[in-house]
Amino acid sequence: MSTFKAKVFVTLKPSILDPQGRTVERALSHLAHGNVSGVRVGKYIELTLSGSRAEVEAQLKDITENVLSNPVMEDARWELSEELVGA
């Protein structure tokens, strides 16, 4: 059994209007960063899980797809890394 750190990234689907991202983009433009485009605002969620890698991967997939994101309007991806004990 190991301990894993998971990073989950949730973003609105490209087809969904992101008013928050657009507002940030406009603000950046006002701050003389007119070359910035395509700003999208999303969520970053950290989790710690314990178990075997296979168990944890299956569980993380379930959590990410069924709780942390709404597949109707969001895309989600995750990264998993084993935590070194005592490091």
């Binding site: 609105l12 969904i16 209007l17 008013p19 928050q20 709780v67 709404n70 109707v72 309007m73």
Partner: protein, 223 residues
């Protein structure tokens, strides 16, 4: 009509929901806490009230949709029982899969709190029988995430099957096709962002919400 008003941590229109149900649906309404496993015996209408369940954390309605009582609400809906979700209640219904689509941030990012006008698009549902087709009613909204979205196939299906029940006459939040309220395929689950329970007495500025409760009573009698 025996009504269960579900309370989640952060519900804040539960009192209004209970009041409207008691006033217009024969008094027989009670609160049910979200940790309960079952609905009171004989529940005919489940009312998911507005508010900010779990502070809208993660996504509005997401955590509430996964609370214990929702299993009983789903079973109730599967039996054909009536479910009414208003505002946050609508968000809980989409998050729990009882209604299609999702509610996202308002187009202009502002929290909107004002009366709006809705056109009644379908009067052959249990929730709208007391209105006339095309009738425009005034009902308040109060939400930051009421922008209705669904993929094009779902929108086409909703429109084709007459599941769009209420439409904004002056779309305040960017909802696709001006959608303000939809019913499930079977017609027994209604979700809407505007608050009919806040428009049931002249004192409140509008009585136009009464029609929804009158419709439900009528539907129950004819069952």
């Amino acid at each position: 009509m025996k009504t269960a008003v579900i309370q989640f941590p952060g519900s804040n229109c539960d009192g209004d929901a209970l009041h409207a149900a008691q006033l217009l649906l024969d008094q027989d309404a009670q609160f049910v806490w979200h940790t309960e496993a079952g609905l009171p015996q004989g529940t005919e209408l489940v009312f998911l009230p507005g508010g900010f369940s779990y502070g809208d954390h993660l996504r509005s309605g997401a955590i509430a949709a996964r609370s214990p009582i929702m299993q009983a609400v789903k079973a109730h809906a599967e039996r054909g029982g009536f479910v009414l979700g208003v505002c946050n209640g609508f968000q809980v219904l989409t998050e729990s899969g009882l209604l299609p689509g999702a509610l996202s941030r308002n187009r202009d990012l502002h929290f909107l709190c004002r009366p709006v006008h809705l056109r009644v698009e379908n009067t052959s549902t249990a929730f709208t029988g007391a209105y006339t087709k095309g009738q425009v009613i005034e009902v308040p909204i109060a939400h930051g995430e009421g922008n209705y979205y669904a993929d094009p196939e779902t929108i086409a299906r909703l429109e084709g099957e007459g599941q769009v029940v209420f439409r904004y006459t002056d779309n305040p939040n960017g909802s696709l096709n001006d959608i303000a309220g939809i019913v499930s395929e079977r017609g027994n689950v209604l979700g809407m962002m505007p608050h009919p329970e806040r428009a049931v007495e002249a004192l409140l500025g509008s009585e136009d919400g009464r029609g929804l409760f009158d419709s439900l009573k009528g539907a129950l009698v004819s069952r």
